[in-house]
């Protein structure tokens, strides 16, 4: 077997690579299961689903995703350009504040705004009772397609903003300064130079937005929009037709893989050889009094809407419901959340480190592909992934039935698929990329010299890892672990679908309150999630700054 491999590969084969290969296969299993679902014979329901659901639901999903991507690209790119190229009052504060919405998961924003703007919500009550206005309900109905696009755009634009801004700060100085010297008009410079240059960065941000929207379950459920994910749920839990649900998932996944490849392809074509001009960042142009004032005002309105107003509203509700929510059971639930998230994050980091190490010692096509596959886990919607994971675990349980019987659990028991192991496994697949990217960046920073020096001094790959690499990348490993942990804490769709009976996390509890019309009670768990999110945002900012020096 070993001799079938080319000698160059064979000579670098080690335990790390074998482990990460097995890990990659395990991580791929659920996705493969779903994709092979497309090849199986459809059930008799399928014709019905195809006729009455498929097209409508796909169209709604496309509309939602397309609308959000368009809005976030416009907002994210122009704000990125505004804060890198111009100086105006409050610029420093605003350029950080524009990232903060990432701390608020869209599902929390959806029910916060939904309730705020309702007939009995704070906005309309204020208008009616204090201002004496009577308002047309139509203008306040956010529970619609437009409303959902609005919510997603307000809370996801930072992906485009952040990636584009980082790119512009790093690379654009010389081009733009030249264009300015050549006397181009600022607006035409933006369209003729900035936009084409940052196309790759914008596409990267936009694809993250698209994946988030397609992953969403909470917003569309709360607003009653029939997305593709909703169709999967309906066939699964409404019609109990698991085969068709898997089929739908397979279709969605093929679409996403297409999107993924398109994004990579677009970026590859656009990879100019850009001079990295670190010593001279772009000199910002000072805006005049009026235009500066307008820029600052627009910026403030955006941050108020996308962070401070919803947080303030949640804080008010939290005060109202404090006695009701804050009790022993709530504490136990927080313990649950933090415990499972920490365990999953720790395991995930072990795998991330092994994978990053392997992909480094074995620089070749295959490891490149597998690291791309790893990062794809992040783009598979939670509902799709959970169907795959569930299917794999149930068939595993069937296979282990004999073992369970011998161990005294009784026959025909579902052990693994009823346990937290399944949820942890799903978390790891979904967020492995977060840990992997952090570790990979850490490895990039130290380069290969130290590892090679250690090998030359008689230490093997493993000893080198523990004695040399780990001490040098431990900061990166820690950051990756914290980021993965925070992502897991706020994860909703996977947790909702794969948690054991009666197991609640902060996210599921908040969601449950909100869907039981107890929106005020959802405020405290939501605020805790947002606080953890703010910490994550700060870490990302700090990492970015360190990475660029």
């Amino acid at each position: 077997m070993k001799h079938l491999l080319p000698s160059r590969i064979r000579h670098k084969l080690n335990g790390w690579i074998v482990i990460s290969g097995i890990g990659a296969l395990a991580a791929l299993l659920p996705s493969l299961y779903i994709l092979t679902g497309l090849l199986r014979r459809p059930s008799e329901n399928w014709a019905h689903i195809q006729e009455y659901m498929l097209f409508n639901y796909a169209w709604e999903s496309l509309l939602l995703t397309g609308g959000t991507v368009a809005a976030t690209v416009v907002a994210g790119t122009s704000l990125a350009w505004l804060t890198t190229a111009y100086d105006f009052p409050l610029r420093r504060f605003l350029s950080f504040a524009f990232v903060l919405p990432l701390a608020i998961p869209p599902y929390i924003a959806a029910y916060t705004y939904g309730s705020m703007l309702s007939y009995t919500g704070s906005v309309q009550t204020f208008m009616r009772n204090t201002l004496g206005w009577s308002v047309d309900q139509r203008y306040f109905n956010i529970m619609s397609m437009e409303g959902a696009i609005w919510i997603f755009s307000l809370f996801l634009f930072p992906y485009v903003y952040l990636i584009t801004r980082t790119f512009l700060e790093k690379h654009s100085a010389s081009f733009i300064e030249n264009a300015r010297l050549l006397g181009g008009h600022p607006v035409s410079n933006f369209f003729r130079i900035v936009l084409p240059l940052s196309q790759g960065a914008i596409a990267g941000g936009a694809s993250l937005v698209a994946f988030e929207v397609l992953n969403d379950y909470g917003v569309s459920k709360h607003f009653g929009i029939s997305t593709f994910t909703a169709a999967i749920f309906k066939t699964w839990f409404g019609m109990y037709d698991v085969d068709s649900a898997i089929r739908l998932s397979g279709l969605l996944m093929s679409f996403i893989i297409g999107l993924f490849i398109a994004e990579r392809w677009m970026r590859r074509r656009r990879r100019y050889h850009l001079p990295v001009n670190r010593s001279t960042p772009l000199r910002r142009m000072r805006l005049g009094r009026v235009s500066g004032g307008i820029a600052a005002t627009v910026g403030i309105i955006i941050t108020l809407l996308s962070f401070f107003i919803p947080v303030a509203q949640l804080a008010v509700w939290a005060v109202w419901t404090y006695d009701d929510v804050w009790n022993d059971r709530f504490f136990r639930m927080i313990g649950n959340t933090l415990g499972v998230s920490a365990a999953a994050a720790a395991l995930l980091m072990v795998l991330a480190v092994i994978a990053a190490n392997a992909s480094r010692t074995w620089r070749s096509g295959i490891t490149l592909v597998s690291s791309k596959l790893l990062s794809m886990g992040y783009s598979i919607p939670g509902a799709v992934l959970s169907i795959g994971v569930l299917a794999v675990f149930i068939s595993l349980d069937k296979r282990l039935a004999g073992v369970y019987e011998a161990m005294g659990f009784g026959a025909n028991k579902l052990v693994l698929s009823m346990s937290l192991i399944m949820l942890v496994f799903a978390y790891i697949i979904r967020f492995l990329a977060v840990g992997f990217n952090a570790v990979d960046a850490g490895y990039d920073r130290i380069g290969e010299r130290y590892s090679e020096a250690s090998r030359m001094l008689g230490h093997g790959v493993t000893a080198t890892f523990f004695k040399v690499e780990l001490p040098l990348i431990k900061g990166a490993v820690l950051t990756g672990g914290i980021l993965a942990f925070l992502e897991i804490v706020k994860e909703l769709p996977l947790t909702l679908l794969l948690r054991p009976f009666n197991f609640d996390t902060l996210a599921t509890k908040a969601y449950q309150y909100a869907s039981d019309e107890q929106i005020h009670q959802a405020a405290i768990p939501s605020l805790i999630i947002i606080l953890l999110g703010v910490i994550a945002v700060c870490i990302y900012q700090w990492m970015g700054r360190r990475g660029s020096t």
Binding site: L457, G458, G460
Partner: protein, 229 residues
Amino acid sequence: MSFVSIHALSYSYPGTAAAVLNDFSLDLEQGEVVGLLGQSGSGKSTLLRLIAGLEAPSQGEISIQGETMSSRHKFVQPERRGVGMVFQDYALFPHMNVSRNIAFGLRGLSRNERKNRVTDMLELVKLADYGHRYPHELSGGQQQRVAFARALAPSPRLLLMDEPFSNLDSELKNGIRKELKELLHQTGITSILVTHDHEDAEALCDRIIRMTSFMPELQAGKKHQLVTS
């Protein structure tokens, strides 16, 4: 049987078509110091990496003391080759002080033996009082001497040096060159020195090899030219 034997070695980096080395052969006698000269990109560093086992050749064989290190059927991992290397940027471990850097390659020794060996090495490179410093607290020349001490501490069979002087200014270089000559003489170690500087090579080496960058259309199949000083 020569001490180090490199036979018909070919190599190209993964994903690139052009060969960096093609059918390259070289033999070293025990205790010999060979200088490798050649223009940038001619594959000097690549050759050292192949000998060290940091890359696996596409074709050809490398053996040390009659023992095959790289061939079609065999590949000895770098940590098992008993080869020491001084890197261009020294690669001193930043999280260890000088003593621990030097002790890093010493295995299978008692605590005391190890301590003595470190002290000996520090004295050899004239840095007896610097054991507790960290690499970033040393000058470029001092760092370079630590790199030598670290590479020599485990008594390798063969020492590879990739442009060890390139980070030093010329005044410092003259002093260091003399010290290195003494050091190589004292230890009697077989070594290969890659350098850009003809003077370095003349001063330090018993034999000089000039590597010409391989251009397939001009010299297909020809062996690299050997120039003996």
